[in-house]
């Protein structure tokens, strides 16, 4: 860095943008074709999901638009296809392209929602455990250990069974998105808590934290205003991986029949719905949503890998 000149100070917003433009992150992104491709793919998928009501030719949730006689039609490049259904139709006669758009929407919503919940719990618990230490630390980390000893799948099966038994299957279907966000969010918070705790332990020894204490600031303000902003890079990196994980978890749960109902399918429940027709020749009902899921998760994971390489200073390559 050059010595600061006495030029007029830039506005904070402009300064932030300029800082991003000057950063190693941006530099690395500009010359990494893989990262650019992944981000473009991810943005395209997210855009498609957000714009589903306008992009989709039919509304798959509207029973009046579904024609059961048009079921199991193949995609456009196979003989016997109907030009109205570009990617063919599923067993109920729903347009596959429309339902994939809506399904991607559901998958992303659950993925981001669950990660938001995980991050919220994990960051708060990790920050408290790392900064306060002692008994709070011991208690929260043992809680995390216990939580980690149950797999996500097991938690989902138990919670799903209990909710279905007590409140009925209809209730579960109506609130399936919320239930899945809660289950995946609660099952995976220790990942965040451990990561955050480790970086808090490193940060709280630095002298700027002592300076804040000497100033007389309250612990809460030191934690959230001083320590937390300096632990953001690992949180950022782990978030990408966790979103991909949450989407996969949701797909797995849906595939096992514990997730989204077929009337309101996610990519996972689409794969499951088509699975029964795989042997009877209608492979597209499973494979096309499957391909979307793979591309979505792969682009997030590759982006996360790239981010981890860039943000870990020990891996700097020049």
């Amino acid at each position: 860095m050059s010595t600061p000149s006495s030029s007029p100070a830039a506005t904070p917003a402009g300064g932030r943008w300029q800082r991003l433009r000057d950063s190693y992150l941006w530099y690395s992104f500009k010359r990494d074709r893989g990262a650019q491709l992944c981000l473009a793919t991810l943005l395209a998928l997210v855009g498609m999901a957000l714009l589903a009501p306008w992009l989709a030719p039919t509304d798959p949730y509207d029973l009046a638009q579904i024609d059961i006689l048009a079921s199991e039609l193949p995609p456009f490049w196979i003989d016997g296809s109907d030009p109205a259904y570009t990617l063919g139709t599923d067993a109920q006669g729903r347009d596959l392209w429309s339902i994939i758009l809506y399904g991607t929407r559901v998958s992303l919503l659950i993925g981001f929602g669950a990660v938001l919940l995980q991050a919220l719990l994990g960051v708060v618990f990790g920050l408290l455990a790392g900064y306060l230490g002692g008994r709070v630390d011991a208690l929260l980390m043992r809680l995390a250990d216990i939580q980690l000893s149950f797999s996500t799948l097991m938690v989902a099966i138990v919670v799903g069974a209990v909710v279905k038994a007590t409140l009925g299957g209809g209730f579960y279907s109506d609130y399936a998105i919320l239930m899945l966000i809660l289950i995946i969010g609660l099952a995976e918070w220790p990942q965040y808590a451990r990561t955050v705790r480790a970086s808090v332990l490193a940060e709280k020894r630095k002298e700027y934290v002592d300076a804040a204490k000497v100033m007389g600031l309250k612990s809460r303000r030191i934690m959230f205003r001083h320590v937390l902003p300096n632990t953001l890079s690992p949180i950022f990196v782990i978030s990408t991986v966790q979103i991909a994980n949450a989407i996969i978890s949701e797909a797995a749960l849906s595939f096992l029949g514990l997730g989204m109902p077929e009337t309101h399918p996610s990519l996972g429940s689409l794969i499951k719905a088509g699975f029964d027709y795989l042997q009877s020749g209608a492979w597209w009902i499973t494979l096309i949503p499957g391909a979307f899921l793979v591309v979505l998760v792969l682009s997030i994971n590759l982006l996360g890998d790239w981010l981890r390489d860039v943000m870990n200073p020990r891996l700097y390559k020049g």
Binding site: M1, S6, A9, E207, A211
Partner: protein, 361 residues
């Protein structure tokens, strides 16, 4: 071991820089440390402390004795330098005084009030009066905050009633006073050099107009060419703002230049406290003598430096009696048995040495 608790005798020495101060509070110490002890637990939590010994389960604890009964008093307007080699507990004294560590035993009094047992809320008014400057300017500024934010934070905390213009004006004033262009407020810490960062850290300490500053080796991480600038800045600030310093250092040249009084520490105890000139002219304690004779000098006509034998003992297992007895050329049976107390001498210094007390040194 706590026999020396009452030895903080006030000796009226000529205060060099106190001349301009009003004389009513002259003799009341601003900060008083009494019988301070701090030990750090090495042995982990309860389960890790359990050991098998001779077929029985026993609880085994180990401590690092960082400070072992320190008595110091700092008068208004003076700069008390604490010197000693690495690991002698000087930084621990500074951090305990500022409340970053809680003492294992002993008391800290600030302006007549005991502050080491106050709640954070009750301590807040004292936080405004005493501030700290840290050793490493690369770690003491929050990397995610601009200089403006860093400097505004203490002012907003301690003056919640000030409006925006007043806070900004204060930040500009304090930045200018440490030689940092007030226009640089929107920049981040990493955009500055080490010396500039330390100036900003000093500005942060001065922002709440404190009267007492603890400086924990504030120049030892800086380039030699910058050290003098920052030291002069601290001295100018002392004159303009009538500051009192507790200055931790291991650089004897800095002590000679900066300090009005010096406390020499060895293995968590104070062995000698004296006005700077007296200490450099006539060191009394054998350790101080060895320390001063180790300063490299140009002239060739003085005797060989005193070479101490052995190593500093580990602070985990403290030696009995005087902590220095294993390396002291004048140690006798009493030194191995009895802990020496700080005793006032005729020349205004205080020495903790049986030999000096008995008149054989």
């Amino acid at each position: 071991m706590t026999a020396q608790a009452l030895s903080h005798t006030e000796t009226p020495t000529e205060p060099r820089r106190q001349a301009a101060r009003p004389s009513d509070q002259e003799n009341a110490p601003l900060l008083e440390i009494r019988g301070l002890r701090k030990r750090f637990d090495l042995s982990g939590d309860f389960l890790e402390q359990l050991r098998f010994k001779g077929g029985r389960l026993v609880r085994h604890q180990e401590f690092v004795h960082a400070i072992n009964g320190v008595d110091l008093s700092i008068r208004r307007g003076e700069a008390l330098c604490v010197v000693g080699e690495s690991g002698c507990g000087k930084s621990t004294v500074a951090r305990t005084v500022m409340g970053l560590l809680s003492p294992s035993a002993g008391e800290i009094h600030y302006d007549g009030t005991r502050i080491d047992d106050l709640s954070p809320k009750a301590l807040l008014p004292y936080r405004k009066r005493m501030q700290m400057i840290f050793q490493n300017p690369y770690a003491s500024l929050n990397p995610r905050m601009t200089i403006q934010q860093t400097l505004e934070e203490p002012i907003r905390l301690h003056h919640p009633d000030w409006d925006r213009e007043r806070v900004t004006a204060k930040v500009r004033e304090v930045m200018a006073s440490v030689g940092i262009d007030p226009e640089w407020g929107a920049r981040f810490g990493h955009e500055f050099s080490g010396g500039q960062r330390q100036r900003i850290a000093i500005a942060r300490a001065l922002a709440v107009d404190p009267e007492f500053i603890v400086a924990d080796e504030p120049i030892s991480a800086l380039d030699v060419s910058i050290q003098a600038q920052v030291l002069n800045l601290l001295m100018d600030a002392q004159q303009e703002r009538h500051l009192t310093y507790l200055f931790i250092t291991h650089d004897l040249a800095v002590v000679e230049h900066f300090g009005t009084r010096v406390a020499v520490m060895y293995l968590g105890t104070v062995c000698e406290v004296a006005p700077t000139r007296t200490l450099f002219a006539t060191p009394r304690h054998p350790y101080t003598q060895a320390l001063l004779s180790a300063i490299p000098r140009l002239e060739d006509d003085r005797p060989q430096p005193i070479r101490l034998t052995g190593e500093v003992p580990t602070p985990v297992n403290l030696p009995s009696g005087c902590v220095f007895h294993g390396r002291c050329p004048h140690a006798e049976a009493r030194c191995r048995r009895e802990v020496p107390r700080l005793v006032a001498q005729a020349d205004g210094s205080q020495v903790a040495c049986h030999g000096v007390e008995e008149g054989r040194l």
